[in-house]
Symmetry: C2
Subunit: 227 residues, 2 copies
Protein backbone atom coordinates (compact mmCIF):
# COMPACT_ATOMS: atom_id res chain seq x y z
CA UNK A 1 0.00 0.00 0.00
CA UNK A 2 1.49 3.29 -1.07
CA UNK A 3 0.54 5.26 2.00
CA UNK A 4 2.33 6.47 5.09
CA UNK A 5 1.51 4.65 8.30
CA UNK A 6 -0.76 6.63 10.62
CA UNK A 7 0.88 7.59 13.91
CA UNK A 8 -0.33 9.44 16.98
CA UNK A 9 1.28 12.58 15.54
CA UNK A 10 -0.13 12.31 12.03
CA UNK A 11 -3.62 11.01 12.81
CA UNK A 12 -6.11 13.62 11.64
CA UNK A 13 -8.53 14.38 14.40
CA UNK A 14 -10.85 16.98 12.89
CA UNK A 15 -12.41 16.67 9.44
CA UNK A 16 -10.59 13.43 8.56
CA UNK A 17 -12.22 13.61 5.12
CA UNK A 18 -9.74 16.36 4.32
CA UNK A 19 -6.78 14.17 5.22
CA UNK A 20 -4.56 11.89 3.20
CA UNK A 21 -1.65 9.62 3.94
CA UNK A 22 -1.08 8.91 0.26
CA UNK A 23 2.60 9.03 -0.60
CA UNK A 24 2.15 10.59 -4.06
CA UNK A 25 -0.14 13.30 -2.63
CA UNK A 26 2.39 14.18 0.09
CA UNK A 27 5.27 14.22 -2.42
CA UNK A 28 3.37 16.46 -4.84
CA UNK A 29 2.57 19.01 -2.12
CA UNK A 30 6.18 19.03 -0.94
CA UNK A 31 7.53 19.39 -4.47
CA UNK A 32 5.28 22.31 -5.37
CA UNK A 33 6.34 24.36 -2.35
CA UNK A 34 9.30 26.69 -2.13
CA UNK A 35 9.21 27.52 1.56
CA UNK A 36 8.54 25.20 4.49
CA UNK A 37 7.97 26.13 8.12
CA UNK A 38 10.26 24.24 10.47
CA UNK A 39 9.06 23.72 14.04
CA UNK A 40 11.38 22.75 16.87
CA UNK A 41 11.56 23.09 20.63
CA UNK A 42 14.19 24.90 22.70
CA UNK A 43 13.83 24.77 26.50
CA UNK A 44 10.24 23.64 26.09
CA UNK A 45 9.28 26.53 23.84
CA UNK A 46 8.24 26.30 20.19
CA UNK A 47 10.02 28.04 17.32
CA UNK A 48 8.70 28.16 13.76
CA UNK A 49 11.21 29.26 11.13
CA UNK A 50 10.68 29.56 7.36
CA UNK A 51 13.25 27.73 5.23
CA UNK A 52 13.92 26.48 1.72
CA UNK A 53 14.17 22.76 1.11
CA UNK A 54 14.27 20.02 -1.49
CA UNK A 55 13.13 16.42 -1.66
CA UNK A 56 14.97 13.49 -3.21
CA UNK A 57 12.92 10.31 -2.89
CA UNK A 58 12.04 9.85 0.76
CA UNK A 59 14.60 12.37 1.97
CA UNK A 60 13.84 16.02 2.65
CA UNK A 61 16.86 18.31 2.81
CA UNK A 62 17.35 21.57 4.70
CA UNK A 63 20.51 23.64 4.52
CA UNK A 64 22.13 26.77 5.85
CA UNK A 65 25.24 28.22 7.37
CA UNK A 66 27.12 25.95 9.78
CA UNK A 67 26.47 28.50 12.56
CA UNK A 68 22.69 28.57 11.92
CA UNK A 69 20.88 28.02 15.23
CA UNK A 70 17.98 26.08 13.78
CA UNK A 71 20.26 23.63 11.99
CA UNK A 72 22.49 23.20 15.04
CA UNK A 73 19.41 22.56 17.20
CA UNK A 74 18.00 20.00 14.78
CA UNK A 75 21.34 18.27 14.22
CA UNK A 76 21.42 17.44 17.93
CA UNK A 77 18.64 14.95 17.20
CA UNK A 78 15.51 16.64 18.51
CA UNK A 79 12.00 16.09 17.10
CA UNK A 80 11.09 18.38 14.23
CA UNK A 81 7.84 19.18 12.44
CA UNK A 82 8.10 20.52 8.89
CA UNK A 83 4.92 21.99 7.42
CA UNK A 84 4.38 23.06 3.81
CA UNK A 85 1.18 24.92 2.91
CA UNK A 86 -0.22 26.07 -0.41
CA UNK A 87 -3.02 28.60 -0.25
CA UNK A 88 -5.17 27.75 -3.28
CA UNK A 89 -8.14 30.01 -2.86
CA UNK A 90 -10.43 32.18 -0.78
CA UNK A 91 -13.73 30.43 -0.07
CA UNK A 92 -16.55 32.98 0.19
CA UNK A 93 -19.77 31.64 1.67
CA UNK A 94 -23.13 33.30 2.27
CA UNK A 95 -22.59 33.06 6.03
CA UNK A 96 -19.56 34.50 7.78
CA UNK A 97 -18.78 31.26 9.62
CA UNK A 98 -18.59 29.16 6.45
CA UNK A 99 -15.88 31.34 4.96
CA UNK A 100 -12.77 29.25 4.53
CA UNK A 101 -9.58 28.76 2.54
CA UNK A 102 -8.81 26.17 -0.07
CA UNK A 103 -5.37 24.81 0.71
CA UNK A 104 -3.06 21.82 0.53
CA UNK A 105 -0.68 21.21 3.40
CA UNK A 106 1.72 18.55 4.58
CA UNK A 107 2.97 17.98 8.11
CA UNK A 108 6.12 15.89 8.30
CA UNK A 109 7.53 14.64 11.62
CA UNK A 110 10.85 13.06 12.46
CA UNK A 111 14.42 13.60 13.49
CA UNK A 112 16.88 15.26 11.13
CA UNK A 113 20.52 14.29 10.87
CA UNK A 114 23.57 16.04 9.49
CA UNK A 115 24.61 14.90 6.02
CA UNK A 116 28.31 14.07 6.15
CA UNK A 117 28.82 12.36 2.79
CA UNK A 118 30.19 15.07 0.44
CA UNK A 119 28.44 13.61 -2.59
CA UNK A 120 25.04 13.53 -0.88
CA UNK A 121 25.66 17.08 0.30
CA UNK A 122 26.35 18.22 -3.26
CA UNK A 123 23.29 16.40 -4.58
CA UNK A 124 21.07 17.95 -1.89
CA UNK A 125 22.26 21.48 -2.66
CA UNK A 126 21.84 20.90 -6.39
CA UNK A 127 18.31 19.58 -5.75
CA UNK A 128 17.53 22.74 -3.76
CA UNK A 129 18.48 24.94 -6.74
CA UNK A 130 16.58 22.69 -9.15
CA UNK A 131 13.56 22.77 -6.86
CA UNK A 132 13.60 26.57 -7.07
CA UNK A 133 14.18 26.87 -10.84
CA UNK A 134 14.32 23.60 -12.82
CA UNK A 135 17.44 23.60 -15.02
CA UNK A 136 19.16 26.33 -13.04
CA UNK A 137 21.97 24.23 -11.57
CA UNK A 138 23.55 23.95 -15.04
CA UNK A 139 23.59 27.75 -15.30
CA UNK A 140 25.57 28.59 -12.17
CA UNK A 141 28.94 28.06 -10.58
CA UNK A 142 28.74 24.90 -8.45
CA UNK A 143 29.68 25.05 -4.75
CA UNK A 144 33.41 24.95 -4.04
CA UNK A 145 35.12 23.17 -1.14
CA UNK A 146 35.15 26.24 1.06
CA UNK A 147 31.42 26.88 0.51
CA UNK A 148 30.60 23.25 1.24
CA UNK A 149 32.57 23.38 4.51
CA UNK A 150 30.66 26.51 5.56
CA UNK A 151 27.28 24.88 4.83
CA UNK A 152 25.33 22.37 6.88
CA UNK A 153 22.89 20.06 5.10
CA UNK A 154 20.35 18.14 7.16
CA UNK A 155 18.20 15.27 6.01
CA UNK A 156 14.76 14.46 7.40
CA UNK A 157 13.28 11.11 6.32
CA UNK A 158 9.85 11.43 4.67
CA UNK A 159 8.37 8.60 6.71
CA UNK A 160 5.82 10.07 9.11
CA UNK A 161 3.67 12.46 7.14
CA UNK A 162 0.11 13.44 6.38
CA UNK A 163 -1.56 15.81 3.97
CA UNK A 164 -4.62 17.94 4.55
CA UNK A 165 -6.56 19.37 1.65
CA UNK A 166 -9.61 21.58 1.29
CA UNK A 167 -10.89 22.24 -2.21
CA UNK A 168 -14.13 23.05 -3.92
CA UNK A 169 -16.98 25.49 -3.25
CA UNK A 170 -18.22 26.85 0.08
CA UNK A 171 -20.51 24.60 2.10
CA UNK A 172 -23.28 26.92 3.23
CA UNK A 173 -26.15 25.72 5.40
CA UNK A 174 -29.28 24.85 3.40
CA UNK A 175 -31.29 27.67 4.97
CA UNK A 176 -28.73 30.25 3.78
CA UNK A 177 -28.72 29.26 0.11
CA UNK A 178 -31.34 31.83 -0.87
CA UNK A 179 -29.49 34.75 0.69
CA UNK A 180 -28.65 37.37 -1.93
CA UNK A 181 -24.86 37.14 -1.49
CA UNK A 182 -22.34 36.07 -4.12
CA UNK A 183 -20.70 32.84 -3.00
CA UNK A 184 -17.86 30.94 -4.56
CA UNK A 185 -14.09 30.68 -4.67
CA UNK A 186 -11.40 33.15 -5.65
CA UNK A 187 -8.52 30.87 -6.72
CA UNK A 188 -5.02 32.11 -5.85
CA UNK A 189 -1.72 31.18 -7.48
CA UNK A 190 1.84 32.42 -6.94
CA UNK A 191 2.51 34.56 -9.97
CA UNK A 192 5.95 35.59 -11.28
CA UNK A 193 6.39 39.23 -12.30
CA UNK A 194 8.93 40.36 -14.87
CA UNK A 195 12.47 39.26 -13.92
CA UNK A 196 14.70 42.03 -12.61
CA UNK A 197 18.34 41.61 -13.73
CA UNK A 198 21.02 42.73 -11.30
CA UNK A 199 23.34 45.58 -12.23
CA UNK A 200 26.12 43.31 -13.54
CA UNK A 201 23.73 41.40 -15.79
CA UNK A 202 22.09 44.59 -17.03
CA UNK A 203 18.74 45.12 -18.71
CA UNK A 204 19.85 44.09 -22.21
CA UNK A 205 21.23 40.64 -21.41
CA UNK A 206 19.01 37.80 -22.60
CA UNK A 207 17.21 35.99 -19.79
CA UNK A 208 18.55 32.45 -19.43
CA UNK A 209 16.46 29.59 -20.85
CA UNK A 210 15.51 28.05 -17.49
CA UNK A 211 14.10 31.41 -16.36
CA UNK A 212 12.16 31.78 -19.61
CA UNK A 213 10.75 28.26 -19.18
CA UNK A 214 9.68 28.93 -15.61
CA UNK A 215 7.90 32.15 -16.61
CA UNK A 216 6.22 30.51 -19.60
CA UNK A 217 4.90 27.61 -17.52
CA UNK A 218 3.52 29.92 -14.85
CA UNK A 219 1.92 32.30 -17.35
CA UNK A 220 0.34 29.55 -19.42
CA UNK A 221 -1.43 28.28 -16.31
CA UNK A 222 -2.53 31.79 -15.36
CA UNK A 223 -3.85 32.74 -18.77
CA UNK A 224 -5.85 29.50 -18.95
CA UNK A 225 -7.66 30.62 -15.79
CA UNK A 226 -8.03 34.37 -16.20
CA UNK A 227 -10.23 36.51 -18.34
CA UNK B 1 10.25 54.23 20.66
CA UNK B 2 7.93 52.39 18.35
CA UNK B 3 9.69 49.06 18.44
CA UNK B 4 9.17 45.75 20.19
CA UNK B 5 11.60 44.99 23.01
CA UNK B 6 14.25 42.41 22.08
CA UNK B 7 13.99 39.18 24.07
CA UNK B 8 16.01 35.98 24.11
CA UNK B 9 13.41 34.48 21.78
CA UNK B 10 13.26 37.33 19.28
CA UNK B 11 16.93 38.33 19.18
CA UNK B 12 18.17 37.74 15.64
CA UNK B 13 21.36 35.74 15.73
CA UNK B 14 22.31 35.35 12.08
CA UNK B 15 22.30 38.23 9.59
CA UNK B 16 20.90 40.78 12.06
CA UNK B 17 20.88 43.31 9.21
CA UNK B 18 17.82 41.50 7.89
CA UNK B 19 15.97 41.90 11.15
CA UNK B 20 13.56 44.48 12.47
CA UNK B 21 11.68 45.05 15.68
CA UNK B 22 9.77 47.97 14.22
CA UNK B 23 6.11 47.83 15.17
CA UNK B 24 4.77 49.18 11.85
CA UNK B 25 6.91 46.70 9.90
CA UNK B 26 5.65 43.77 11.97
CA UNK B 27 2.05 44.94 11.65
CA UNK B 28 2.29 45.35 7.87
CA UNK B 29 3.69 41.83 7.41
CA UNK B 30 0.97 40.36 9.61
CA UNK B 31 -1.77 42.28 7.83
CA UNK B 32 -0.66 41.24 4.35
CA UNK B 33 -0.72 37.53 5.17
CA UNK B 34 -3.71 35.22 4.96
CA UNK B 35 -2.20 32.12 6.55
CA UNK B 36 0.04 31.86 9.59
CA UNK B 37 1.92 28.82 10.88
CA UNK B 38 1.20 28.14 14.54
CA UNK B 39 3.85 26.27 16.50
CA UNK B 40 3.15 24.59 19.82
CA UNK B 41 4.51 21.72 21.90
CA UNK B 42 2.71 18.55 22.99
CA UNK B 43 4.65 16.09 25.19
CA UNK B 44 7.88 17.82 24.22
CA UNK B 45 7.27 17.50 20.49
CA UNK B 46 6.70 20.37 18.04
CA UNK B 47 3.59 20.79 15.90
CA UNK B 48 3.26 23.39 13.15
CA UNK B 49 -0.28 23.97 11.87
CA UNK B 50 -1.46 26.44 9.20
CA UNK B 51 -4.30 28.72 10.26
CA UNK B 52 -6.13 31.88 9.32
CA UNK B 53 -5.94 34.88 11.61
CA UNK B 54 -6.62 38.58 11.98
CA UNK B 55 -5.02 41.44 13.87
CA UNK B 56 -6.79 44.22 15.74
CA UNK B 57 -4.28 46.62 17.26
CA UNK B 58 -1.86 44.60 19.38
CA UNK B 59 -4.10 41.53 19.46
CA UNK B 60 -3.79 38.63 17.02
CA UNK B 61 -6.85 36.36 16.82
CA UNK B 62 -7.05 32.67 15.90
CA UNK B 63 -10.32 30.77 15.71
CA UNK B 64 -11.77 27.36 15.00
CA UNK B 65 -14.15 24.71 16.24
CA UNK B 66 -14.39 24.32 20.00
CA UNK B 67 -13.10 20.74 19.63
CA UNK B 68 -10.04 21.81 17.62
CA UNK B 69 -6.94 20.25 19.21
CA UNK B 70 -4.62 23.15 18.45
CA UNK B 71 -6.97 25.69 20.04
CA UNK B 72 -7.58 23.50 23.08
CA UNK B 73 -3.82 23.03 23.51
CA UNK B 74 -3.13 26.75 23.24
CA UNK B 75 -6.02 27.73 25.49
CA UNK B 76 -4.38 25.75 28.30
CA UNK B 77 -1.77 28.52 28.42
CA UNK B 78 1.27 27.01 26.72
CA UNK B 79 3.90 29.00 24.80
CA UNK B 80 3.09 29.53 21.14
CA UNK B 81 5.09 30.80 18.16
CA UNK B 82 3.12 32.22 15.25
CA UNK B 83 5.06 32.77 12.03
CA UNK B 84 3.84 34.59 8.93
CA UNK B 85 5.97 34.47 5.78
CA UNK B 86 5.61 36.20 2.41
CA UNK B 87 7.73 34.80 -0.41
CA UNK B 88 8.51 37.87 -2.50
CA UNK B 89 10.93 36.52 -5.07
CA UNK B 90 13.44 33.98 -6.28
CA UNK B 91 17.00 35.32 -6.05
CA UNK B 92 19.14 33.86 -8.83
CA UNK B 93 22.86 34.37 -8.36
CA UNK B 94 25.81 33.38 -10.57
CA UNK B 95 26.95 30.88 -7.95
CA UNK B 96 24.72 28.11 -6.62
CA UNK B 97 25.39 29.00 -2.98
CA UNK B 98 24.28 32.63 -3.34
CA UNK B 99 20.84 31.62 -4.58
CA UNK B 100 18.27 32.83 -2.10
CA UNK B 101 14.69 33.95 -1.62
CA UNK B 102 13.38 37.44 -1.05
CA UNK B 103 10.91 37.24 1.78
CA UNK B 104 9.31 39.05 4.70
CA UNK B 105 8.50 37.08 7.82
CA UNK B 106 7.35 37.72 11.36
CA UNK B 107 7.82 35.48 14.37
CA UNK B 108 5.48 36.24 17.24
CA UNK B 109 5.83 34.60 20.66
CA UNK B 110 3.52 34.53 23.64
CA UNK B 111 0.67 32.79 25.37
CA UNK B 112 -2.80 32.80 23.86
CA UNK B 113 -5.98 32.99 25.88
CA UNK B 114 -9.57 32.17 25.13
CA UNK B 115 -11.76 35.16 24.30
CA UNK B 116 -14.83 34.99 26.52
CA UNK B 117 -16.38 38.40 25.90
CA UNK B 118 -19.08 37.86 23.23
CA UNK B 119 -18.52 41.28 21.69
CA UNK B 120 -14.78 40.76 21.34
CA UNK B 121 -15.46 37.34 19.84
CA UNK B 122 -17.79 38.87 17.24
CA UNK B 123 -15.28 41.60 16.43
CA UNK B 124 -12.47 39.06 16.03
CA UNK B 125 -14.50 36.89 13.65
CA UNK B 126 -15.57 39.93 11.66
CA UNK B 127 -11.94 41.07 11.45
CA UNK B 128 -10.97 37.62 10.14
CA UNK B 129 -13.46 37.94 7.26
CA UNK B 130 -12.40 41.53 6.60
CA UNK B 131 -8.73 40.44 6.62
CA UNK B 132 -9.56 37.91 3.89
CA UNK B 133 -11.72 40.20 1.70
CA UNK B 134 -12.08 43.83 2.83
CA UNK B 135 -15.76 44.75 2.83
CA UNK B 136 -16.97 41.16 2.85
CA UNK B 137 -18.46 41.12 6.33
CA UNK B 138 -21.28 43.42 5.14
CA UNK B 139 -22.13 40.92 2.39
CA UNK B 140 -22.72 37.82 4.50
CA UNK B 141 -24.96 36.50 7.23
CA UNK B 142 -23.33 37.30 10.58
CA UNK B 143 -22.61 34.48 13.06
CA UNK B 144 -25.62 33.39 15.13
CA UNK B 145 -25.59 32.34 18.79
CA UNK B 146 -25.24 28.65 18.01
CA UNK B 147 -22.29 29.26 15.68
CA UNK B 148 -20.61 31.47 18.25
CA UNK B 149 -20.99 28.79 20.94
CA UNK B 150 -19.42 26.19 18.61
CA UNK B 151 -16.44 28.45 17.86
CA UNK B 152 -13.38 29.18 19.98
CA UNK B 153 -11.54 32.44 19.49
CA UNK B 154 -8.07 32.85 20.95
CA UNK B 155 -6.12 36.06 21.36
CA UNK B 156 -2.33 36.31 21.30
CA UNK B 157 -0.88 39.67 22.33
CA UNK B 158 1.42 41.19 19.70
CA UNK B 159 4.12 42.05 22.23
CA UNK B 160 7.12 39.82 21.59
CA UNK B 161 7.78 39.90 17.87
CA UNK B 162 10.46 40.37 15.27
CA UNK B 163 10.51 40.66 11.50
CA UNK B 164 13.09 39.32 9.10
CA UNK B 165 13.34 40.65 5.58
CA UNK B 166 15.51 39.88 2.58
CA UNK B 167 15.05 42.04 -0.48
CA UNK B 168 17.07 43.23 -3.44
CA UNK B 169 19.45 41.57 -5.90
CA UNK B 170 21.69 38.53 -5.38
CA UNK B 171 24.98 39.14 -3.59
CA UNK B 172 27.51 37.25 -5.69
CA UNK B 173 31.19 37.13 -4.76
CA UNK B 174 33.29 39.69 -6.67
CA UNK B 175 35.23 36.97 -8.50
CA UNK B 176 32.00 35.52 -9.92
CA UNK B 177 30.62 38.73 -11.41
CA UNK B 178 32.09 38.06 -14.86
CA UNK B 179 30.56 34.60 -15.16
CA UNK B 180 28.24 34.39 -18.18
CA UNK B 181 25.08 33.58 -16.17
CA UNK B 182 21.93 35.67 -15.94
CA UNK B 183 21.53 36.88 -12.37
CA UNK B 184 18.69 38.78 -10.79
CA UNK B 185 15.35 38.37 -9.12
CA UNK B 186 12.07 36.82 -10.25
CA UNK B 187 9.48 38.64 -8.12
CA UNK B 188 6.51 36.55 -6.97
CA UNK B 189 3.04 37.71 -5.92
CA UNK B 190 -0.11 35.84 -4.96
CA UNK B 191 -2.38 36.29 -7.96
CA UNK B 192 -6.17 35.83 -8.01
CA UNK B 193 -7.63 33.90 -10.94
CA UNK B 194 -11.19 34.41 -12.17
CA UNK B 195 -13.72 33.89 -9.35
CA UNK B 196 -15.66 30.62 -9.53
CA UNK B 197 -19.30 31.05 -8.38
CA UNK B 198 -20.85 28.08 -6.60
CA UNK B 199 -23.84 26.31 -8.13
CA UNK B 200 -26.42 28.29 -6.18
CA UNK B 201 -24.90 31.61 -7.20
CA UNK B 202 -24.55 30.53 -10.80
CA UNK B 203 -22.34 31.93 -13.57
CA UNK B 204 -24.63 34.84 -14.48
CA UNK B 205 -24.89 36.46 -11.07
CA UNK B 206 -22.91 39.68 -10.75
CA UNK B 207 -19.80 39.36 -8.59
CA UNK B 208 -20.21 41.37 -5.41
CA UNK B 209 -18.42 44.73 -5.15
CA UNK B 210 -15.91 43.67 -2.48
CA UNK B 211 -14.77 40.80 -4.72
CA UNK B 212 -14.47 43.11 -7.71
CA UNK B 213 -12.41 45.56 -5.64
CA UNK B 214 -10.08 42.82 -4.43
CA UNK B 215 -9.50 41.57 -7.99
CA UNK B 216 -8.96 45.07 -9.34
CA UNK B 217 -6.40 45.92 -6.67
CA UNK B 218 -4.46 42.71 -7.25
CA UNK B 219 -4.52 43.04 -11.03
CA UNK B 220 -3.49 46.67 -11.03
CA UNK B 221 -0.38 45.75 -9.06
CA UNK B 222 0.37 42.84 -11.36
CA UNK B 223 -0.07 44.74 -14.60
CA UNK B 224 2.22 47.50 -13.32
CA UNK B 225 4.95 44.87 -12.97
CA UNK B 226 4.44 42.58 -15.94
CA UNK B 227 5.12 42.93 -19.62
Amino acid sequence: MDAFPVTSRTRLRRKPGRGSYDRATVHAILDEGLVCHVGFVIHGEPFVVPATYARIGERLYLHGAVANRMLRTLAAGVPVCVTVTHLDGLVLARSAMHHSMNYRSVMLFGIATLVTDPEEKRRALEATIEHMVPGRSAGTRAPNEQELRATSVLVLPVEEASAKIRHGPPSDDAEDLELPFWAGVIPLRPCPLDPVPDEHTGPNAPVSPEVTSLLERARAELSANRS
